[in-house]
């Protein structure tokens, strides 16, 4: 039921924008009477972590980067990749190793400085030098990792003239175009401003926070508010009808809805700061308020993961992280399967996500439903709830109860995680007779424990960066990640699976055979029960009836250029 309405709204949104084709703005036509005050207001729970494209990491912060900066390419509202700073799609050589970009001649920063190929080279070099979360978006270039390790220039990147960029890749990378469209690490920055204001300080003041995007920041009070306005005569086209965007910081989800109801906000949901599940339920059940609620397909999977090298669920107890964990006599397999089958995901989604509105039960593997690599609605054989089989399997695996003595489930307290955790605990107790202790913590502590491989059973979650399975496998399930510890907290290492995904990474994602390869790899994951996937997140939005052009495409909010407020 929820599913069909979600698809309907997404389809409508996509259809509408198919007409407008990308650049937002003015789609409403002359039949709309616009309000005099075109200020768009919304609120957030926490302050942003970083506004620097080279440092940014969270989906919340990316929302703003999307509007203030530009990359060579970008996603339009229907997630189609279109040129932005580049004038056209890239020329790729036959062997896939040389990419040539022709740049637009009219790109300028909001302070008037012109953008040339030198700026792009400088910006990308800076990103690699700072080597933070999304520097990986540029690692496909030959010599990029050298810069991360201290080299001064990217040997594989050159600027033959002021409006051409040439990149040499180490190996064909079908996904690189997608990475370039992400509004983060590869966006162009103004060297003059950053050098003057300081690499660490240029984002603090609105006056030095300069980008080439359709909007610019005019005010920022830490932990209180932010303000943006459109850039006059923006080189990229129409910046739309909004005259100002005001963001309140420090308003929690309950208060956001209250302010929305008293007319203080145009929307709740922008920048990944949506309403809480109880309010969503209230709106769903109210005939009038229901019209203001839209639930979009989300791009996040939540699961619980098992430790493959330590503890009762380990497939190869005692192995060092990064070593092969495949084991035909896997001693933890039955336990992992039992724990997964013991969970009625429908009940969990009902309870933790307000009757399955803010999330949907997951039956198709780690990759979120609706994205490439999804295993299908019955793709995960151990996601199907079967209490009797689970209990029997559990008792066969652990007849004395010694294996689960003192078992802890670790998670970070945020959003609906607490609800999920408490329901998991209740279901394991009820269906397996096992007492799992809940150990909530903040995120840094959880991360530390995961890296130390102390977490035996813990919450896992991944928000999609772009619609490509490589995002999942390379970050979460590969042997090299198990060693390094930036992802793959389970320390799962399956060389056969890695071989399949590495080969697929080099091929074009538009080829169905490539997608099939990823699906095969995904099936190995679910058979080994690396993650017991429990739900796919949805994004509920509350929007005032007089707002047009608001939406969400599964990864990002619709661009601000398309939003307008009608008279009300």
């Amino acid at each position: 039921m929820t599913g069909s309405s979600k698809f309907r709204s997404l389809a409508i949104a996509m259809g509408a924008l198919f007409v407008v084709a990308g650049c937002g703005g003015g789609g409403g036509g002359s039949s709309e009477t616009l309000a005099a005050d075109q200020t768009f207001r919304f609120g957030m729970s926490n302050d942003i972590t970083s506004l620097d494209p080279a440092h940014v990491d969270s989906a919340v912060d990316i929302t703003y980067l999307n509007e203030v900066f530009t990359g060579l390419y970008r996603f339009d509202n229907s997630l189609k990749i279109v040129p932005s700073g580049a004038a056209s799609m890239p020329e790729i050589s036959a062997d896939g190793l040389t990419w040539t970009f022709h740049l637009r001649h009219d790109v300028v920063f909001s302070n008037g400085d012109k953008v040339t190929s030198a700026d792009w080279v400088w910006s990308w070099t800076r990103t690699l030098r700072l080597n933070d979360a999304y520097a990986s978006n540029l690692e496909a270039i030959h010599g990029a990792t050298d810069v991360e390790n201290g080299a001064a220039t990217i040997t594989g990147l050159s600027a033959p003239d002021a409006y051409t960029l040439k990149a040499q890749l180490d190996s064909p990378a079908g996904y690189w175009l997608t990475q370039l469209a992400m509004p983060t690490a590869s966006e162009v920055l103004d060297k003059k401003v950053i050098d003057a204001a300081g690499d660490d300080h240029w984002t603090e003041q609105a006056s030095t926070y300069i980008g080439s995007g359709p909007f610019k920041m005019t005010a920022r009070t830490p932990k209180q508010s932010m303000d943006f306005v459109p850039v006059k005569n923006w080189w990229g086209g129409d910046t739309g009808k909004l005259t100002a965007i005001h963001v309140d910081i420090g308003i929690d989800d309950v208060s956001r809805v209250k302010k929305f109801e008293s007319g203080g906000y145009e929307n709740v949901g922008m920048a990944n700061n949506g309403p809480g599940p109880d309010d969503v339920l209230r709106y769903k059940n109210d005939p009038v308020k229901n019209k203001l609620l839209t639930v979009y397909n989300g791009a996040r999977t939540t699961a619980f993961g098992f430790n493959f090298v330590t503890g009762p669920f380990a497939s190869k107890p005692g192995a060092t992280p990064g070593a092969d964990t495949t084991n035909s006599a896997d001693p933890g397999l039955d336990g992992r399967r039992a724990f997964s089958m013991a969970i009625d995901r429908a009940q969990l989604a009902d309870i933790a996500c307000a009757h399955a509105i803010t999330c949907q039960p997951a039956y198709g593997g780690p990759i979120t439903k609706g994205f490439k690599g999804y295993l299908g609605d019955t793709g995960d054989p151990y996601a199907k709830f079967d209490a009797t089989a689970a209990k029997a399997l559990y008792q066969k695996w652990d007849p004395t109860g010694s294996k689960v003595k003192g078992l802890e489930y670790r998670y970070n307290t945020s959003g609906g995680n607490t609800k999920r955790a408490e329901n998991l605990q209740a279901q394991w107790k009820q269906n397996l007779g096992v007492d799992v202790k809940l150990v909530p913590s903040d995120f840094p502590t959880l991360q530390r424990d995961r890296k130390k491989k102390v977490v035996i059973l813990g919450r896992e979650s991944w928000g999609i960066d772009y619609d490509h399975p490589q995002d999942w496998f390379d970050n979460l399930f590969s042997c090299s990640q198990a060693k390094v510890g930036r992802g793959n907290d389970e320390a799962y290492c399956n060389p056969a699976m890695d071989a399949i995904t590495t080969a697929a990474n080099a091929k074009s994602i538009n080829d169905p055979a490539t997608v099939n390869d990823y699906v095969k790899a995904g099936q190995m994951l679910v058979n080994d029960v690396v993650w017991a996937t429990i739900d796919y997140g949805t994004q509920p939005y509350m929007t005032q009836s007089y707002v047009r052009g608001m939406g969400y495409n599964g990864l990002y909010d619709f661009n601000w250029e398309g939003i307008r407020l009608l008279q009300h």
Binding site: V254, G276, D278, L281, I351, T413, N423, A426
Partner: protein
Amino acid sequence: MATVVPTALELPDQLQVVGAAEELPEQVTLWQDAWRRLKRNRLAVIGLVIIGVFLTTALVSFVWTPYPTWRQALGPTYQGPTLIHPLGLDDYGRDILSRVMGGAAIALSVGVGASMLASAIGIILGLLAGFYRGKIDVLISLLINISYGVPDLLIALILVVLIGRGIQNIILAISITAWLGMARLVRGQTLALREREFVEAARSIGTKNRKILTRHILPNALGPIVVQATYLVPAAIIFEAFLSLLGLGVPPPAPSWGAMASEGYKAIQIAPHIVLMPCLALSLTVLAFNWVGDGLRDAIDPRMRR
């Protein structure tokens, strides 16, 4: 704790030292007299009854509740009161009546536990500071003065974050912030009492200091101590509720009233019963303890003896 303790005791001129010139015979009849007066105080009696009810509920909950307090999906979530679930179901589909019962156990454990621990520490240190003076007194007075400069909630918050969230840790954290108030009271009492004649008398016949403290000073200071300790219980219960509200109270699925209230608040417009029940239970318990505390204070106040 200087937060919600009703403050007759904070007024220096109302701090009466209990006990007159004679000692032991007076003391026995004093307590009997106090008990008689307490019984006549209607509100205090009601308070005692309420506490009795909650105490019984708490004890029963250790052995039996209508449904397990942790069991979810017993019915449709957010459901209002029905015959089989007289207080309704919460947002997880858990039985609220069972959880309120469990919450009584937690509240009373935290309240009484913290009060007793804080009192024990406070009494010992207060006696030592007031009697022996010297370095101990300087240190304790300094601590008391510094404690005026920092809100206890902040210290407790930091402590809980550092040492973890179990029920014992919370009792510990609350006690660490609460013992200073008791120490201050006991120190004041001791300072006044040590000058009294019966103490001089005891000293002159060679009674050891420890005996003087335990046999002479402490019993005479007991009145205000008991009153303060009684007031500490509801203060500790509210304190834990504050912590739960901020997400740092007794960890889930423990049915502490504060945690239930903070969860229920989010659903207050679709299911007000979820937040109402624990708030009601909490307020009644605190009210009861406050009435009893007031009654005790009036009962031992010699100025009201007629």
